[in-house]
């Protein structure tokens, strides 16, 4: 039965992706900065955005709200009740941009501009003492930020 179990068993129904659409829709931001859009944001600008979009759930100074503690870690990571904030636990600053752009604010995710996300990254990193008050985050400076807990992870099932 030649027509049954043909040489190839799958059709080829994938349409070539349009590069513009790919570029517009791509949200992934990698630790080496790949995927970061052009744009910039300052700590001050971030502070205002944070107050407007985030403080309601995360607390005025990024802790003590109904949602996750984002800054102000007190207990170290080897304490049974360790504080796992952005500053004390996150290994990569680029993760902040990747997550905030796609997931925030909760009521209208993915509606912040690149500048606004850079600014929020700047403010949150500053609130965690990782960058100074005059820091400006952009496609070059954000991936260059060295997070305190950069080497705090042990890969178990992937090298």
């Amino acid at each position: 039965a030649p027509s049954l179990t043909p040489q190839e068993n799958a059709p080829h129904l994938g349409r070539p992706a349009d590069p513009q659409v790919l570029a517009r829709q791509r949200l992934n931001v990698f630790p080496d900065g790949s995927g970061l859009p052009t744009g910039r944001g300052t700590v001050a600008e971030g502070g205002a955005l944070y107050a407007r979009h985030c403080a309601a759930c995360h607390g005025r100074d990024a802790r003590g709200g109904s949602a996750e503690e984002l800054a102000g870690a007190v207990r170290p990571l080897n304490d049974p009740d360790a504080d796992r904030t952005i500053g004390s636990y996150w290994p990569h600053a680029t993760t902040l941009f990747d997550f905030i752009r796609r997931a925030k604010p909760m009521g209208a995710p993915g509606t912040l501009s690149a500048d606004e996300v850079y600014a929020l990254c700047a403010w949150l990193l500053h609130a965690n003492g990782v960058v100074p008050a005059d820091a400006v985050m952009d496609a070059q400076s954000l991936p260059a930020v060295r997070m305190p807990n950069r080497d705090g992870f042990i890969r178990i099932e992937a090298d």
């Binding site: 039965a1 027509s3 068993n9 659409v21 309601a56 909760m106 209208a108 509606t111 500048d115």
Partner: protein
């Protein structure tokens, strides 16, 4: 507190038309019991009910819309004679009496305390595919012709446990099972089969039985025809003789050309059908298509399924999706290159006992066309040169 911000228009990337709204607004909250997507509401049981008696008839599992071997509970086929009784489990009992040493009554709570077993099994109505006896092939989707079969993981108490508790008299040979529906349907089942592998079914794909499938308890009679799996089970009377109920004399017997009729034809025979491509679907252009279908046998496991794309002139072995289980639906698959020309797709199954699914002509030659029940002839789909699929013989 959730600040449903007026979603500020994307400043940088103005919202292009391919932007999906659900990416930018919170989704639906959690629910206690989920339902299918509204986009899938066409995947439903097709109902064939008696106009004068709305609870008398069938509803078919839409086999051509499903994949794998499990039938989701909401789509399990129905065959009722007078509707689905709305039973309060607290008032329902199972009475085991007749040729027993001690007649016993069990309530639902007690039965849930007994040893149980789970088993993946099909239930097929004896009348499934009966349109196959018609002179000309019926032009309806696969499920609307062959959909009086479903497959679930049934969990329940082995009959043997309850029979031992009551003590069976030596002259007992049959068990008359009776349901608590409006018509208290009763059927005779050989005691040996009940002891061997029958269950008092209590769970269906993990949750308690559904009302249409016999809540709060039903009989499970592995591999045997659907009417014997008495729903809403309320009575088991042991006796030396069968009761000769209406559904094992006037119905569920098969007239032969000679005028004699087959009776007590319990086991569902080796059978298969291709669910995709099937009637009503269409192949847009010459290409590779996945032929997918179901095979089963009341005698045990499916050993082999062959598929033909040239009306039976040549055949190729389909792959069987594991695990291949006894008296259970088995999914078979084989890729097929359609060249745009008319074709006829067929499948034929063989079970572990060597039983083979017959061609329709051979079945009709052997049994005539007045038998109504136990149709397991090979099912054929014709593809015309525009790719339209229809039922053929």
């Amino acid at each position: 507190v959730l600040a449903t911000a007026t979603a500020a228009a994307h400043t940088a990337s103005a919202t292009p038309d391919d932007d999906l709204p659900w990416l930018h607004e919170p989704g639906a909250p959690f629910t206690p019991y989920g339902q299918p997507s509204p986009h899938e509401r066409l995947t439903a049981r097709r109902i064939g009910a008696n106009r004068a008696v709305p609870g008398n008839g069938v509803s078919f599992t839409p086999l051509e819309e499903l994949e794998g071997i499990i039938t989701p509970n909401g789509l399990h086929f129905e065959r009722h004679h007078n509707g689905v009784p709305q039973i309060d489990p607290a008032r329902h009992t199972l009475t085991l009496h007749g040729r027993v040493k001690q007649p016993l009554v069990f309530d639902v709570k007690s039965l849930l305390r007994y040893p149980m077993r789970s088993q993946l099994l099909f239930i097929e109505c004896g009348g499934n595919s009966n349109a196959g006896w018609h002179q000309s092939p019926i032009q309806r989707p696969a499920g609307s012709v062959h959909g009086l079969i479903s497959c679930a993981e049934w969990t329940g108490v082995p009959l043997s446990v309850l029979l031992d508790e009551a003590g069976v008299e030596p002259d007992a040979r049959w068990v008359i099972a009776e349901g608590a529906d409006a018509g208290a349907m009763n059927m005779s089942i050989p005691l040996a089969k009940m002891r061997e592998d029958c269950l008092i079914g209590l769970y269906q794909n993990g949750e308690r039985l559904r009302p249409e499938q016999g809540y709060p308890m039903r009989l499970i009679v592995p591999g045997w025809e659907g009417v014997l799996h008495v729903k809403w089970l309320q009575r088991l009377e042991l006796s030396a003789q069968p009761v000769m109920s209406r559904n094992e004399t006037a119905k569920y017997t098969e007239l032969l050309p000679s005028g004699k009729a087959r009776q007590f034809t319990f086991t569902m025979d080796c059978k298969s059908l291709i669910t995709s491509p099937s009637h009503g679907q269409s192949l847009k252009q010459p290409d590779i298509y996945q032929v997918s279908g179901l095979a089963w046998s009341g005698h045990g496991r499916i050993r082999r399924v062959e598929v033909s794309a040239d009306g039976g002139r040549s055949w190729a072995d389909a792959a069987l999706d594991g695990p291949v289980l006894p008296r259970c639906l088995t999914r078979f698959r084989i890729p097929w290159r359609w060249n745009g020309q008319p074709a006829v797709l067929k499948s034929r199954a063989i079970d572990e006992r060597g039983n083979r699914q017959p061609e329709r002509a051979a079945l009709v030659a052997e049994r005539g066309r007045a038998g109504y029940f136990h149709y397991n002839g090979i099912v054929a789909w014709a593809i015309d040169d525009d790719g339209r699929v229809s039922h053929t013989y």
